[in-house]
């Protein structure tokens, strides 16, 4: 068991630096920060006569520079002490992520309530629930209770859609 772990660790250490998690994460943070930093230069500037204190772009600029410096700091430290990242992500994670995409697509094109139902049944099924009653519970009965609760008690109006319209009209 220990040998397997040592082998895995050795493999991780022998990876080229740009494939290691530490580099990838630090690179993404720095890359996004630089893009945002460039964006701050497009912010409108207050004329000196009206300006009180600092320009609106100065504070976000300072924050982004701080994030970049701190990220370089954690990358430097990770060279001495690599991060401990949990096992590879399982299929169920990607399926859950896919359910979010489904949710966004359906709620934007068809119906908000339908999107919740589809996500619920999709997630529940792929997480291992095969019993019809429980699948109906999470996909229809519970969302319906939540819908009615929000609609009647909180007075919320959900966005129009193929199912919601039947309820409203």
């Amino acid at each position: 068991m220990n040998n397997v772990q040592n082998k895995k660790r050795a493999n991780k250490i022998s990876l080229p630096f740009f494939l290691k998690d530490e580099f990838k994460v630090s690179f993404i943070i720095v890359f996004i920060s630089i893009i945002l930093l460039i964006t701050t230069f497009t912010f409108d500037i207050v004329p000196p006569i009206l300006n009180r204190g600092i320009q609106p772009a100065t504070f976000p600029k300072a924050l982004l520079v701080l994030i970049i410096c701190l990220t370089l700091g954690i990358y430097y430290l990770s060279l001495k002490k690599p991060w401990k990242v949990e096992k590879k992500l399982p299929k169920s994670f990607y399926l859950t992520l896919l359910s979010f995409v489904l949710f966004i697509t359906i709620s934007k094109t068809l119906d908000f309530f339908l999107a919740i139902s589809v996500l619920s049944i999709f997630v529940s099924y792929h997480w291992g629930e095969k019993r019809i009653f429980y699948l109906l519970l999470v996909s229809i009965i519970f969302p319906l209770i939540v819908f009615i609760f929000f609609e009647t008690i909180l007075g919320l109006r959900f966005p129009p859609g193929i199912i919601t319209n039947i309820y409203y009209y």
Partner: protein
């Protein structure tokens, strides 16, 4: 005396008693379920509080906080999985004792210690919050800026994650707060032409995303996890012999927990770890720790519940969250139009003392519920994730949408859910993001207003004694994790 009457007010309000009852019950359920806890639960319930008046809303959130913190101990003892991070230290002795067939005794010690710790901390809250608020009258913009910086630097030393990663997360939180129209000049920042972003990003989509949705994604990676539950007959109150053994530990940990709670950004997790290690240090039988010592359970549980009242001190007196859950409570205060700070003490004492009194009652209520219902609550862990989390998703989506009836908020929630998942995966805590987001406006606002007062001279900050003190404390807070690591290295070398 007048304040004492104000504290007792919730007892005479049927509505508040009902809110307390459900809040405590809901808090216990949330605390018992691993992955949920009072912070995520509080975030989920936030949109629903909009139907309540401000006092009822905050009473609901604080009762969830108190009961949820205790609830974590039930799962820690029975299934060796802390329901909340603050109950992690309880596992160390709670589960071994339960395995010896003394689950009832372990839960009895945890229940008594939690209730005593919680009540002790409310007393601290009643005395210290007004004192701190009085001190805050001396604060101007530069002092508030220095205080907010101190609160943020304290993030470096919070329990989980590396100090630098916590600081990056905190800075990211402040950066989120800059999205939208600049409050001084109305100039758009990071809006990219999207009208909905002009108003800035709301707290709730970020909070629900970072806590609930990211946890849902985390749970999707742990589907093969199986809990082994130790059988529980009934909760047993500690015997006289047990009390003799643990009373000093409970009092010490209550003091430690309250103190740690008062420090900005620190919370129950740090408090319980320190409470546990101090209990071991002072124990006559330290060798029994880790094998089912009731002193270990008492030390951890009294400390994490004592941190609840402690954490409310800076939250109410200064508007600086004392922990992750108080950050959610602070969000609740803000969305209900209540601005915490010294003025709150002067203008709305009935509101404040109502909260204090409710916290006291919540601590008594969870003692009763815990004592008589622990067996039932333990059964909640049997609800499978494959049913629970889709339901939580439905509530999260509708709750987030309900605030401004904007679908953009739901996208933002999902976005932060994914961001939160990857942050946690790579060792970044999500708590500093929330604290940064809440403090962001205060930091930027007070900095810019201070610079107007000082005519752009940054060195003027150093001429203000209170501000200077906070800056020095900030430096200490930043240096503390480094010193702690060096000390640990030296210890290992020796």
């Amino acid at each position: 005396m007048e304040n004492l009457f104000l504290m007792m007010a919730p007892l005479f309000s049927a509505k508040l008693l009902l809110v307390l009852f459900f809040g405590t019950l809901f808090g216990l359920i949330l605390g018992v379920l691993p992955g949920l806890g009072p912070t995520t639960g509080g975030a989920l319930i936030l949109p629903f509080t909009m139907t309540l008046d401000p006092l009822s809303a905050i009473v609901l959130l604080t009762s969830i906080y108190c009961a949820g913190t205790y609830g974590g101990a039930i799962t820690a003892i029975l299934i060796n999985t802390p329901g909340t991070p603050a109950a992690a230290a309880t596992c160390l002795d709670g589960y071994p004792l339960a395995q010896k067939g003394e689950a009832g005794r372990a839960l009895g010690v945890a229940t008594v210690s939690s209730a005593v710790g919680g009540i002790f901390s409310v007393i601290i809250l009643v005395f210290f919050a007004p004192l701190l608020a009085k001190l805050a009258y001396e604060f101007g913009q530069p002092e508030y800026f220095a205080l907010a910086i101190f609160g943020l630097t304290m993030l470096a030393s919070i329990g989980d994650g590396s100090p630098i990663k916590n600081l990056i997360a905190g800075t990211f939180g402040i950066l989120i707060s800059t999205i939208g129209k600049d409050f001084m000049t109305s100039i758009d920042r990071f809006t990219y032409g999207i009208n909905e972003l002009s108003e800035g990003i709301g707290f709730i989509p970020v909070v629900v995303g970072l806590f609930a949705i990211s946890e849902m994604l985390t749970q999707s990676t742990m589907l093969d996890q199986v809990f082994k539950r130790v059988a529980l007959k009934a909760v047993k109150l500690p015997s006289l012999k047990d009390y003799k053994l643990i009373w000093k530990t409970i009092l010490r940990s209550s003091g430690i927990g309250s103190f740690i709670g008062v420090l900005p950004a620190e919370g129950g997790t740090v408090a319980s770890l320190i409470g546990y290690s101090e209990a071991k240090r002072w124990s006559k039988k330290p060798e029994e720790f880790g094998k089912g010592s009731i002193e270990g359970i008492a030390g951890a549980e009294a400390a994490n519940n004592a941190a609840t009242g402690g954490a409310m001190v800076p939250t109410l007196a200064l508007g600086i969250p004392g922990s992750a859950t108080t950050a959610v409570i602070l969000t609740g205060l803000i969305i209900h139009g209540v601005r915490p700070g010294p003025d709150l003490f002067r203008e709305q004492p009935e509101f404040l003392y109502g909260i204090f009194g409710s916290m006291l009652i919540a601590n008594i209520l969870f003692f009763i519920f815990g004592f008589f219902g622990a067996k039932l609550f333990a059964r909640i862990t049997l609800v499978p994730n494959k049913i629970l989390w889709p339901m939580i998703f439905a509530v999260s989506v509708c709750g987030t949408y309900s605030l401004s009836q904007s679908i953009i908020d739901v996208w933002i929630m999902l976005f932060f859910g994914i961001v939160g998942f990857f942050m946690r995966r790579f060792g970044f805590s999500v708590v500093p993001v929330i604290i940064g987001l809440i403090l962001g406006e205060l930091v930027e606002g007070t900095l810019r207003q201070s610079l107007v007062i000082f005519d752009g001279n940054w060195f003027m900050f150093l001429t203000r004694p209170i501000a200077l003190t906070f800056f020095i404390l900030s430096l200490i807070a930043l240096a503390f994790p480094l010193l702690r690591r060096k000390k640990l290295k030296l210890k290992i070398k020796k």
